[in-house]
């Protein structure tokens, strides 16, 4: 099978390419700049690379190239997306929404099947058990990213209604490999863990029983590879792992002597204005982007995914959190913070 993977250089995209090539498929990776693909374990991925841009009409390809591509591909895995927070709304719309529309055009022209990589957090801030079949519940979104992925899913559903064979895969928070914690880039939750563990931000407005779902990048890629082999047209699949509560975060951070553990302050009375100057800056620029995740109480149904996937889901949240932190410590991303003023003065006074 000839498979086009958009966002092939991304964390999920590269891992998908690695698995598809391993399964004997010819992979065409759509990339921005990179010349080679690297899987999460650091190994080179042998794939044909095409330079393009999903935000542009024809994916930024010239017409002959696009026509040639459309003639070749049997399956498109659309994993290109802006996944980090804090960008302008227009950026998410251009990449995540308009980019999906452009990919849908290509899929329609090629008559190719589409696996659309979305996010479990299209559910926004609604609490409770989120079904794979649910989408529009008039939910409020925590950030532009969630909104844009929701809008993109609406486009995919519309295309499906018009006859395109599509499957939506919704990962939760994608982290390092399930067994080892290995990850090749530290973004999103890793940034949160860094700011909290180093005591850059000491208090967050959250509940002890609020929870986020962490899923290993290998688990997400494996599910997508499974769907590539066994069609799941019309289905939406939650690629989720283990639920980690804010209490788990507190307990696990406390296992590391050099780490600080944040205070969870009642959200109703949390006031960023009361934070000290530097902490306020960290809050405003970074952690405020994740604010609603500290108070959500969401779990994700994955009944449909369970019927298709070939690997087992990791279910021990604290264990998964510990693994990703251990790896981040080994890699030097997390660890000993710079000494505070008091400590530095104490050392000088010896």
């Amino acid at each position: 099978m000839n498979v086009l993977v958009t966002g092939a250089a991304g964390l999920v995209g590269a891992e998908v390419c690695a698995r598809l090539t391993r399964n004997g498929h010819h992979v065409i990776g759509l990339v921005h700049r990179v010349r080679t693909l690297t899987a999460n374990n650091g190994r080179h991925v042998r794939a044909e690379l095409v330079t393009g841009d999903v935000t542009l009409p024809r994916l930024g390809l010239d017409e002959p190239s696009r026509r040639l591509l459309a003639a070749r591909v049997d399956l498109i895995v659309h994993s290109a997306a802006i996944t980090d927070f804090g960008r302008p709304r227009e950026t998410y719309e251009a990449v995540n929404v308009a980019g999906t529309a452009n990919v849908l055009d290509l899929a329609t022209e090629a008559g190719a099947r589409l696996i659309h990589v979305s996010t479990a957090y299209v559910c926004g801030e609604q609490d409770g058990h989120i079904l794979e079949t649910a989408l529009d519940a008039r939910q409020r979104f925590g950030n532009h990213y969630e909104r844009s992925k929701f809008d993109a899913e609406l486009l995919v559903r519309k295309a499906a209604a018009e006859g395109l064979a599509t499957t939506v895969v919704r990962p939760s928070v994608v982290v390092g490999a399930t067994r080892t914690g290995v990850v090749r880039e530290f973004k999103n939750i890793y940034v949160v863990l860094k700011l909290l563990s180093e005591g850059r931000v000491t208090a967050i407005p959250g509940h002890f029983d609020a929870c986020v779902d962490l899923v290993g990048v290998d688990h997400v890629a494996a599910l997508i590879a499974d769907v590539a082999e066994n069609r799941a047209d019309g289905l939406t699949l939650h690629a989720v792992g283990s639920s980690v509560s804010m209490r788990h975060v507190s307990d696990v951070l406390a296992e590391y002597p050099s780490f600080r553990v944040p205070r969870y302050v009642a959200p109703a009375t949390f006031s960023p204005a009361a934070l000290p100057g530097v902490e306020r800056a960290y809050w405003d620029r970074m952690l405020s982007l994740y604010e609603s995740y500290f108070r959500r109480r969401q779990t994700f149904d994955d009944t449909a995914a369970a019927g298709l996937r070939t690997n087992r889901r990791a279910t021990n949240g604290p264990d998964q959190l510990r693994k990703i932190i251990d790896y981040a410590v080994r890699a030097g991303y997390l660890g000993a913070p710079l000494p505070g003023v008091d400590e530095a003065l104490a050392e000088v006074g010896r």
């Binding site: 208090a203 509940h207 002890f208 029983d209 209490r247 507190s250 307990d251 406390a254 296992e255 590391y256 002597p257 050099s258 780490f259 600080r260 553990v261 205070r263 969870y264 302050v265 009642a266 109703a268 009375t269 009361a274 251990d326 410590v329 080994r330 660890g335 000993a336 400590e343 104490a346 050392e347 010896r350």
Partner: protein, 519 residues
């Protein structure tokens, strides 16, 4: 042997005459005398082997025969066979083999048959002696390896005397391993010198006795003196909880240690997986890190493998627990009070009661703060009944704080608080007097202020910290309340955590400007 065959036969006959033994049971002289060691004070150890599968009682029977202490144990063939097969079939880490199991097997394999030699030979066929000796060689070698590695670690931490002690122990264990390789398997180290006497033809024995033999010379590899391969690793269940600026450690969800400021700085520098020592460590860090190791607060690994030193048949394995620090009061708003900047003090309360008492102390503060607010409002409007109840609540909050600070947890119920000041380690007659007069008499802010001051004095000034002097201080108390919630959550305290968060928040929402006026 120091006893003749005739003497042994006589002792056996007199011993058997005193017990009811099956007629077909075999009898074995075992232990140090059977080994050829022993002296005039040594016990005579007999093992009666009953030819049956069912277990026999394991407690020895003790007699005095001809002025000698005689112990006779009984075992069935089934029991001994299982022991031997357990050793023969062991897989996995060699030191998991229990020392008492090995001791029983060794004594059986090397005992002197007094009666029923055929039966004993048949049972011995389950484990060839040379195989047993090979097991003992590896077993002692692994213990030696761990002891020497532990000594290397202590040296790296600047602990020369304990390091020398462990190095001596390691070399002795290496010598036991070497002796086992040459057929000398007796477990107890006390007869090592006689075991080596029998192997004295080898020049290594003399070198060992002169202190010139290394563990490697004695066949124990994997313990070069290179501290660079030592890393600090996470123990099974140790967590760090900072309350205000004070660092507490909870071990096994049971024991709470409070660190002095310098110890806390050393603790905060620890990162799992990094080298045990660093050139950047401030002077004196080694002593503190060695104490962390001793108390089981960190593990140390040698190229990724745990260092697990042990002295078989001599000392229990595992972490040391110090005597609890007996400072009074035990608790303040910021947790336990360390005795010294370098101290690693064990708190004399189990973790869950420590956390419960501390949270009750915070609530006591919240109660007093809110009650004083209510009292002022009630006095302004001359609501005397409301004022009386507010005063009683403030007094109860103060008494709760006083009792909690001294470790009373769970607390008596509110009506009983005033009658249970006898739970305190020292009498507090003035506080009791003030509490009674405030509870029974006219609401009086001045008297309440004196009561709070008295409680503060009785708790070393920390039951009601600066929170009662300024809005910032009060906010600090509330922040610390959030710190305690984290520990409470970790220890599964029966506390509705989110409601507790809200309670703290509402406590902080009191109008501080008027609070100041009240003081």
């Amino acid at each position: 042997m120091i006893l003749s065959e005739a003497q042994i036969a006589s002792l056996a006959e007199q011993t058997l005459a005193r017990i009811s033994a099956p007629a077909d049971a075999a009898l074995l002289l075992e232990g140090s005398i059977a080994e050829g060691f022993g002296n005039s004070r040594s016990d005579i150890d007999f093992l009666l082997v009953a030819d049956q599968e069912a277990d026999m009682p394991t407690m020895p029977t003790i007699f005095f025969v001809d002025g000698r202490r005689v112990e006779i144990r009984t075992r069935s063939v089934g029991q001994i066979t299982r022991h031997l097969l357990d050793v023969a079939g062991h897989r996995g880490r060699i030191t998991r083999l229990d020392e008492h199991l090995l001791n029983r097997c060794q004594r059986f394999l090397r005992g002197y048959p007094v009666r029923g030699a055929d039966l004993i030979r048949k049972v011995r066929d389950n484990l060839a002696y040379e195989d047993f000796a090979a097991v003992m060689t590896k077993w002692w070698a692994e213990h030696a390896r761990q002891s020497v590695r532990h000594a290397v670690m202590l040296t790296a931490l600047g602990q020369p005397e304990p390091a020398a002690g462990w190095m001596r122990a390691g070399l002795q264990q290496a010598a036991k391993s070497w002796a086992a390789r040459h057929g000398e398997t007796y477990l107890e180290p006390k007869w090592l010198s006689l075991q080596l006497d029998r192997l004295a033809a080898d020049p290594l024995v003399e070198r060992y006795r002169r202190g010139e033999a290394t563990a490697a010379d004695l066949g124990v590899t994997g313990c070069d003196e290179r501290p660079g391969q030592l890393t600090v690793e996470r123990p099974r269940e140790v967590t760090t909880w900072q309350i205000g600026d004070r660092v507490h450690l909870v071990r096994d969800r049971q024991d709470v240690f409070v660190l002095g400021a310098e110890a806390a700085r050393a603790w905060r520098r620890i990162v799992w997986g990094r080298p045990l020592v660093s050139p950047a460590d401030p002077p004196g860090t080694g002593d503190l890190v060695a104490a962390f190791v001793r108390f089981g607060l960190i593990r140390v690994a040698w190229r990724g493998s745990d260092i697990t030193p042990r002295l078989p048949l001599a000392a229990p394995a595992g972490s040391v627990t110090p005597a609890p620090a007996m400072t009074q009061p035990i608790l303040s708003i910021s947790g336990a009070n360390p005795t010294h900047p370098r101290s690693i003090d064990l708190v004399p309360l189990p973790a869950h009661r420590f956390a419960a008492a501390a949270m009750a102390l915070v609530w006591g503060n919240v109660m007093v703060e809110n009650a004083v607010e209510d009292l002022r409002g009630a006095l302004d409007r001359e609501q005397w009944g409301v004022a009386a109840l507010a005063t009683a609540r403030a007094v109860n909050g103060g008494l709760r704080a006083l009792l909690c600070a001294h470790g009373v947890s769970p607390l008596p119920s509110d009506p009983d608080l005033i009658h249970r000041l006898d739970l305190l380690p020292t009498p507090q007659p003035r506080i009791a007097e003030l509490a009674r007069s405030l509870s029974d008499g006219t609401p009086d802010l001045t008297a309440l202020a004196e009561f709070v001051t008295a409680v503060r004095a009785a708790t070393g000034g920390d039951a009601f910290p600066s929170s009662f002097d300024s809005a910032d201080g009060w906010q600090h108390t509330l922040d610390i309340g959030y710190d305690w919630l984290r520990l409470g959550a970790y220890l599964d305290q029966q506390l509705p955590l989110d409601e507790a968060q809200d309670l703290l928040s509402s406590g902080g929402a009191q109008p501080h400007t008027t609070t100041k006026e009240a003081r």
